[in-house]
């Protein structure tokens, strides 16, 4: 019988398909890279914003919270917390941790200085202005 389905052909499709779709993905990523700075207002990333971001990362905030829906689902969304709570509440809240309420989920106290709290708030404010295609659906995140 004629060989109608050869392994060599299947392998070529695998290799060709992989290269093909990788090329398309790279082309799209190139375009995305050009778009991101205008969508997230990269020009507004001040040094305070960058310091705040470093604090958020080096304290593993996304180990409990989400940022734009990415992270853990143990604590509320942070990307829109600036709009939900405002800067004063956020700083007071962080300083008041842990609440120690029995049985309630606890957030550690990170012993931030006032400057660090300002940096964090600057970063959270920057986060809240990213164009995320109208996500989250409402202010509760």
């Amino acid at each position: 019988m004629q060989q109608v389905f050869t392994k060599a052909m299947a392998r070529n499709i695998f290799l060709g398909g992989a290269v093909f779709f990788l090329a398309i993905y790279l082309a799209l990523s190139y375009d995305t890279w050009q778009r991101i700075p205008e969508r997230d207002h990269a020009d507004k990333m001040t040094s305070a914003v960058l310091r705040g971001k470093y604090l958020l990362d080096s304290n593993d905030c996304i180990g409990c919270h989400t940022v734009n829906g990415e992270g853990a689902y143990f604590a509320p969304e942070l990307a829109n917390v600036y709009k939900r709570r405002g800067p004063v509440f956020i700083k007071a809240w962080i300083e008041a941790q842990p609440t120690g309420v029995p049985g309630r989920r606890q957030m550690p106290n990170f012993h931030f200085t006032q400057n660090q709290l300002d940096d964090l708030v600057a970063y959270l404010q920057w986060l809240s202005n990213i164009d995320t295609n109208n996500w989250p659906p409402n202010i509760q995140g």
Binding site: T32, N59, F110
Partner: protein
């Protein structure tokens, strides 16, 4: 087992199972912290429990993949491993590095750990699954290089089967895709975009190739079906994986700041992502039906056939549920994702790992298959774990539904913590299912301590008597 050097896989498999136990313990603690927030606080904050849980998962899966590579590559290449000694040294380096990292998580404050490991010079920490400090990440690269050198040299001097080419090729892909872990741009949107190169690239791309290669190997060995047939199916399946999965990465880009065209492109291509899993099921059962021998290791066959089905449920079905942009708009960042993550990681990667261990461990211990008694324990463990994991996934789905109804899609949305209180019953179900899973794991492990090998004669006698 045909080659002495394949023995080096044994410590990898044993360590993998030990780390698996650790993963589940942290999972149970994390589940309890959902219900009782002050449990082990402040000694063990939730984020540390979680990173221990997820990092142990990754390490034990990598351990099995490496062990599997050291077991399969020589057998397929029909030659001894290039350097068994290097493989053994690599094992100890990897195990000690992993253990030290977990210990550091548990006993050193995360920000302090970042400070003392040079995170300020090259920031890499604080991203999901990639929480490891810089020295650990460099260690992972070195371990990967050692593995790649060893298996590639083995492949070069031996027979080049398609299984081996796909396996070694995807191990190279695994190492290459880890490199973006060192790229952490200041721009949060770009950072998230690049983070998925590692995470999506691994679990929805490269690892599926590894899964395919391992499953193909097991099926060839256990069913005796012609290699040509298995391998050409394998190529089509992995081709479909990449065709759907490469642009399918777009389903992570809908609501994280990337341009809106990803909403369309990601939805269309990720809608196709279940196809390779359907093909995998069709392929496995076709091979089973065409089998030319009855392998005595029934437990391994069960794992091998269970993998594509559970992978389809977890990655295909649960993944599809949250992948289309309009649905994800409400489900993004809820326990729907956690449900999908648990079922997919277990169904695809934990199960293929247990499948290759189930097939290889008896051989490494000098027998074709374990005794019928041992296999009964293993099969019982299989069912308890599979059903418990389905329970976990359903409970988390329930919690996700609560969030969507009360918080995301409500006219008068409730705050996060109130919603979490409303979902308590589902977190209880999840915890009980988790305990069930742990029992299943213990039952499974019990099977390793039942001595003796499969006795054809006595089994035959019993079958005739019955």
């Amino acid at each position: 087992m045909k080659y002495q050097s394949q023995k080096v896989a044994k410590p990898y498999f044993i360590a993998a199972l030990a780390l698996f136990v650790g993963q589940i313990v942290f999972g149970l603690i994390a589940g309890l912290q959902y219900l009782h927030g002050t449990f082990l606080f402040p000694e063990l904050p939730f984020d540390v429990t979680r990173m221990s849980h997820t990092n142990l998962l990754i390490v034990w899966l990598l351990m099995t993949f490496m062990g599997a590579a050291y077991f399969i590559v020589p057998e397929e290449a029909q030659t001894e491993l290039y350097s068994p000694r290097l493989a053994l040294v690599t094992f100890w380096v990897f195990l000690i590095a992993a253990a030290l990292t977990i210990v550091a998580y548990l006993f050193v404050d995360y920000a302090h750990l970042a400070a003392i490991t040079g995170n300020a010079i090259l920031p890499t920490m604080g991203r999901g699954y990639l929480e490891q400090p810089l020295p650990t990440k460099i260690g992972i690269v070195l371990v990967a290089l050692s593995l790649l050198f060893n298996v590639t040299m083995t492949l070069i001097k031996g027979r080049k089967t398609s299984i081996n080419l796909i396996l070694v090729g995807s191990l190279w892909g695994l190492a290459l895709l880890f490199l973006p872990a060192f790229y952490f741009p200041h721009d949060t949107v770009k950072a998230s975009y690049a983070w998925w190169w590692v995470v999506h690239g691994w679990v929805e791309g490269d690892w599926e190739l590894i899964l395919g290669a391992l499953l193909g190997f097991i099926l060839i060995k256990m069913t005796g079906v012609d290699r040509e047939i298995v391998e050409k199916w394998l190529y089509i399946i992995v081709a479909m994986t990449l065709i759907s999965g490469l642009i399918g990465i777009g389903h992570h880009y809908y609501y994280t700041g990337a341009p809106s065209y990803w909403i369309w492109l990601g939805s269309i291509f990720s809608a196709l992502e279940p196809i390779p899993f359907i093909l995998l099921i069709a392929f496995s059962f076709k091979m089973l039906l065409q089998r030319r021998r009855e392998h005595p290791n029934k437990a391994a066959m069960l794992w091998a056939l269970g993998t594509p089905i559970m992978a389809f449920l977890g990655a295909g079905l649960w993944g599809f549920m949250i992948t289309l942009a309009p649905a994800q708009y409400y489900m993004h960042g809820t326990n729907f994702t956690a449900a999908h993550g648990h079922l997919a990681f277990f169904g695809a990667y934990a199960m293929i790992s247990l499948a290759i261990i189930s097939y290889a461990m008896p051989l490494l211990r000098g027998r074709t298959a374990n005794s019928a008694a041992a296999q009964r324990w293993e099969i019982a463990g299989f069912w308890i774990m599979v059903l418990s994991m389905l329970g976990i996934a359903l409970a988390l789905t329930g919690a996700g539904i609560v969030t969507v109804i009360l918080q995301r899609a409500a006219d008068d949305p409730m705050p996060f913590m109130q919603v979490q209180d409303k979902a308590r019953v589902f977190f209880w179900v999840r915890e009980f299912a988790g305990v069930g899973f742990f029992i299943g794991l213990l039952v499974y492990l019990r099977s390793f301590f039942i001595a003796g090998e499969y006795e054809y004669a006595s089994e035959m006698k019993q079958a005739l008597a019955a």
